[in-house]
């Protein structure tokens, strides 16, 4: 049943021009950043050769592109997640799902899964961008993998938060604004944090992403992302279940 919902979600997504526009724009922005980094690399290449252990293509080009991709996703996710529940309510189609013999958990997980499949497409495009470097050099595939895993995990966090906020309202626009506000606040923790050993660091979503970005897959980071995602998924399910009680 989860897959039926996920399939329906993807269909709705690709039936609308929003998904295609977002895919195109994201790829445009990321390709731009990618080319910018490539330029920078070519400029400093003569100096790099003199170093004993010079950073490679992956560190200089791929990692920054993935860091930028996380920010772009932060902006794009609210646009995608806003419709998940809010639009179903707005169009009175939530009844259709609730009347069917499926649980709220199926609905929430199905919708989440659908979004994650869409994000996998975005991540695959970023990976494809990075792999194009093989034409003129070598890549550190370990670092690329860690970046891809990190981007997937952070996308899961964004989606679960956006999904939860979409559960709170019947207006997609409000859901988008709410999710964007929430995600920017998470980002702000990272920016305002000045000290290294701050407790807020443990809660900052981007600090955890940074580790993946540098090629470190730490269980603490993995657990953080999973707990974050799980928390908002459970909150979403509880919220929708509670709604039948409150009316």
């Amino acid at each position: 049943m989860i897959f039926v919902i996920a399939h329906k979600e993807l269909k709705a997504l690709f039936n609308s021009s929003l998904a295609w526009t977002l895919l195109a724009l994201m790829q445009l922005v990321l390709a731009w950043i990618f080319l910018g980094r490539l330029d920078a690399f070519l400029e400093i290449q003569p100096q790099l050769i003199q170093l004993a252990n010079p950073p490679g293509l992956t560190e200089i080009i791929v990692a920054p592109v993935f860091a930028a991709a996380a920010i772009v996703l932060l902006m794009a996710t609210p646009l995608l997640t806003m419709r998940l529940i809010a639009e179903e309510r707005h169009n009175h189609t939530m009844t259709f799902l609730i009347s069917a013999p499926i649980s709220m958990t199926d609905i929430v997980i199905g919708k989440f899964l659908g979004m994650m499949i869409f994000f996998s497409v975005i991540i695959a495009l970023v990976i494809a961008l990075s792999i194009s470097l093989l034409v003129g050099g070598t890549l550190d595939f370990g670092l690329l993998l860690s970046n891809a895993v990190g981007l997937f995990m952070i996308a899961a966090c964004f989606t679960s938060l956006g999904l939860y906020i979409s559960c709170l309202t019947a207006q997609p626009a409000i859901a988008a604004a709410g999710a964007l506000g929430g995600l920017l606040a998470l980002w702000a923790i990272d920016i305002t944090m000045n000290d290294v050993n701050n407790i807020a660091q443990d809660f900052s979503i981007f600090k955890h992403y940074e580790n993946f970005n540098r090629g470190i897959i730490d269980t603490f980071d993995l657990v953080y992302f999973m707990l974050f995602t799980l928390t908002f998924l459970v909150l979403s399910i509880r919220r929708l279940d509670g709604e039948r009680l409150r009316g």
Partner: protein, 250 residues
Amino acid sequence: MTENSLMLTISAHNLSRNFGSYTAVREINLELRHGEVLGFLGPNGAGKTTTMRMLTGNLAPSSGSVEIYGIDLLDRPRDAKMHIGYLPETPPLYRELTVNEYLRLAAKLHRVSKIKICSALDEVKLQCGLKDMGKYLIGSLSKGYQQRVGIAQAIIHDPDVIILDEPTVGLDPNQMREILSLIRNLGTKRSVVLSTHILSEVENVCDRVQIMHQGQMVFNESMTGVKQKKISLEEIFSQLTLNDKTSEKI
């Protein structure tokens, strides 16, 4: 067959629902047998829709119980919902899907097996007069056709209990007649709850009639009983539902 016809398909006891301090539905009882069509009447705001939402598991009752085919809706919602087809007041349609895509989705969500989906789709389209509409986007259909798609999604999984909230709204007289004859056909093998404002619909189609007013069930009689007593539904309806309202306003 006799055993089947005696079987209770819906049985709701002392069903109540409060919204804050406002009581929308107060301790109503509702029983429906196999092969019965129940006409559910009442003025606007009487609690019909609230009751139907409770019967379909869209709204949890404040107190009372609902059983569908002997399965408790609150304890085992998934098993109970398998037997229900529901058309809400506003048909729950995805405008961006085609009729075929939408009905196929409805079938899948109701666990119709893959092999049966195609034949179920064809049959339901035939029943609801949507034969040539399969490839159209739902958003581009007229109100009447959208209403038919709404009915089609409620019956595609061949449910034993069909709950229709004002199914004939927005239909022209011909379509209305078609839909009513469809409902009558459905009612021979299943149980149907039909909420409506049009009394003649009830007289033509229903086996039993219940009238709700201000959250309470004020009238419950079989259609043959009504006919034997030679009272018109219209009179009963206005008698039962008009008095309080006028006195309340004064």
